[in-house]
């Protein structure tokens, strides 16, 4: 039982990171119906910015986090303006491939400057408490609480503010909404800024939890976060959060109770089974087909 609770805590930690990244995928998909394959690599850039801030600028945790989020948000907005905006009228898949190209560029560009994996210094004093046999580290608490806080803020922004309303409206209909006076480009930029900065926050926390980082770290984590977004129902913000925790949970639990090499097999097998029963994810709904 303690073992299970311990693993549950680990699952929460991994799940909240997946969920934060998945939010970026789902927000961009919601607004542009486009899979931003560069998002996993923006997560990686976030981790590297954290590394730079912590190692060279010797900043403490909070400024590091903010710097990483702001830097990646700027990068995300710039990528959207340069690489995706000209393709809004083109077939969707062209933008997706462009995103793939941007992602590869980020990976390899980082690789040029960092051919070897880097070690991120510990920014948070590591204290561990033991409650009923379950050990909790200060890092785990911060990761889980901070992620949940960010998700709650995002949820409030999307549901309660004018910007959030504009986002939801644009995801519903891109051609009409600008006619109502909603600044389309600005809203898309804001969406990218928020989505990518959440990815950067995830990158920062990930690099503190697993302090060895390399330019290719975003690929697998990115794909898994994308899967989380789809499991939750892509385009659905709450779905992405749920999906992230589900995937984190499945991965940790499979690794905890089965040979760890089965992890991918079982996790993806479960994913396929889920998609058979709920082809549009947990909270997703099929768009009504007009005939």
């Amino acid at each position: 039982m303690t073992y299970f609770l311990q693993q549950l805590l680990n699952a929460m930690q991994l799940g909240s990171i997946y969920a934060l990244i998945a939010l970026g995928y789902t927000m961009v998909y919601g607004i542009l119906t486009m899979i931003n394959f560069a998002h996993g690599d923006l997560f990686m850039v976030g981790a590297f910015l954290c590394f730079i801030a912590a190692t060279f600028l010797k900043l403490p945790f909070v400024p590091t986090l903010l710097l990483s989020m702001a830097g990646v948000a700027l990068l995300g907005v710039a990528i959207e303006r340069v690489a995706y905006k000209p393709l809004r009228q083109a077939p969707r898949v062209s933008a997706v491939i462009t995103a793939l190209g941007v992602g590869l560029f980020l990976e390899n560009f980082t690789l040029v400057f960092s051919p070897y994996p880097q070690h991120v210094p510990a920014l948070i004093a590591n204290r561990t408490w033991t409650i009923g046999g379950v050990s909790i580290s200060s890092l785990q608490i911060i990761i889980i609480l901070l992620s949940i806080a960010l998700m709650i803020i995002l949820d409030l922004v999307v549901r309660r503010t004018m910007v959030g309303m504009a986002m939801r409206a644009i995801s519903w209909d891109k051609s009409i909404v600008p006619l109502m006076g909603v600044p389309l480009d600005l809203i898309i930029s804001i969406t990218f800024a928020i989505g990518t900065s959440l990815g950067a926050a995830a990158g920062t926390m990930y690099s503190l939890a697993f302090p060895v980082i390399d330019p290719y770290m975003g690929i697998l984590v990115g794909w898994k976060a994308f899967i989380s977004a789809v499991v939750g129902g892509i385009g659905n913000i709450r779905g992405a959060m749920i999906g992230g925790f589900i995937l984190g949970g499945v991965e940790i639990m499979v690794a905890a109770f089965m040979p760890s090499t089965y992890r991918d097999f079982v996790a993806f097998g479960l994913l396929l089974i889920l998609l058979i029963f709920r082809p549009y994810g947990i909270l997703g709904k099929p768009r009504p087909q007009k005939v």
């Binding site: 998909y29 491939i97 793939l100 390899n108 690789l111 090499t261 993806f268 082809p279």
Partner: protein, 360 residues
């Protein structure tokens, strides 16, 4: 109903003078002469035998040529799903892995070494058939799921294949299979490449291929126009994975060492890039895409790490200026079956012939 006059079929566009125009005319003359094609193919095949026999070019270039061939097979087969059917499959390396492992297990464990060179074509076919069967695993979810969700199914398929292989100790687990005999030769690569192109082209320009195309255009309308969409999807996935399996078998017996890591998502991404670089819905595009991608990576090798920075930039720029890739939805004349190219023309001639006596 208002009726419009049909457009002039052979309207002469005003010809510009100059050197370029002369080249253009020459090119047109070559392109319209289909009899060159069999000559080229025969010459290519003879060359593919002569080159390794007499070492006409250095072995490094021979190796690149074989990779180009294998990549053309991969790219054309993926284009069938992503370009012609309009789905977004991201797990092509998974199919490749099945073909590679089936063939490698056969040649290293079951078939006596002496027989290998003789049985190699058969082994490749068996690998293709096995992969084709596995293709059904992805085809069946495609009946109901589309878009991002089907992309996830193919991605999960890729990961599952990799994970299953890692967990089977009998075939090396995560360590893979070393010491595979080098059985892939230039003539065989040439033969399989041409065969893959020919078969996929024939399929695309058939009733079933048109069914696949109509799914890309509008699946519901396609179903309502009597297209058995399930059959069309099943065929497209089976054929696509069959050839991915063949490419995998050739790849394994060229690289001589395979491990699950070779067939991860990055390999799938490479094939995706080739497809969209060359152009969706075009076999010419796939040939170009695979060739350019493979050759460019080799040519830029002196740049070291920077070549990996440059390649994605090329891709992004190409997408920005040609969102459909180099040849998107267009086809070079030689690759269209002759009858399909002439169908309307032949019909008009026949009609003129039957109308003429009736009028007099």
């Amino acid at each position: 109903m208002p009726t419009q006059k049909p457009p002039q079929s052979n309207a002469q566009t005003p010809r510009q003078e100059g050197k370029w125009e002369r080249w253009r005319q020459r090119w047109d003359r070559i392109a319209s002469n289909r009899r060159i094609l069999p000559v080229l193919l025969a010459a290519g095949f003879v060359l593919s035998i002569l080159i390794p026999r007499f070492n006409l070019v250095n072995p490094y270039i021979q190796l690149i040529l074989m990779y180009v061939g294998i990549n053309i097979i991969l790219c054309t087969s993926l284009n069938l799903i992503n370009g012609y059917m309009g789905e977004f499959s991201v797990g092509h390396a998974g199919f490749m892995a099945v073909g590679a492992y089936v063939s490698a297990v056969l040649t290293t464990m079951f078939i006596p070494t002496a027989l290998n060179p003789w049985l190699f074509p058969l082994i490749v076919v068996v690998a293709g058939l096995a992969t084709g069967l596995v293709g059904l695993v992805v085809a069946i979810p495609s009946f109901k799921t589309r878009g991002a969700y089907l992309a996830i199914v193919t991605l999960a398929f890729n990961m599952i294949v990799k994970s299953v292989i890692e967990n089977i100790e009998a075939i090396g687990g995560p360590r893979g299979i070393p010491g595979i005999e080098k059985l892939t030769t230039l003539p065989w690569t040439f033969f399989w490449t041409v065969l893959a192109i020919w078969v996929i082209r024939n399929f695309v320009y058939s009733n079933f291929g048109r069914g696949v195309l109509s799914i890309r255009e509008d699946e519901i309308a396609s179903d309502l126009m009597s297209v058995n969409t399930r059959q069309a999807k099943l065929l497209a996935f089976t054929i696509s994975s069959f050839f991915a399996g063949i490419a995998g078998a050739l790849f394994a017996h060229l690289l001589q060492f395979i491990s699950p890591r070779v067939f991860d998502i990055i390999k799938s991404t490479d094939v995706l890039i080739m497809v969209y670089l060359g152009g969706i819905g075009s076999i010419t595009g796939s040939i170009l895409g695979a060739t350019i991608f493979t050759v460019l990576l080799e040519v830029l090798r002196p740049l070291g790490v920077w070549r990996m920075v440059l390649m994605p930039l090329v891709l992004v720029l190409l997408m920005l200026f040609r969102p459909r890739g180099i040849m998107g939805l267009r086809e070079f004349r030689w690759l269209i079956p002759h009858y399909q190219l002439l169908a309307a023309h032949l019909w008009r001639k026949k009609k003129e012939a039957t109308d003429a006596p009736a009028a007099s």
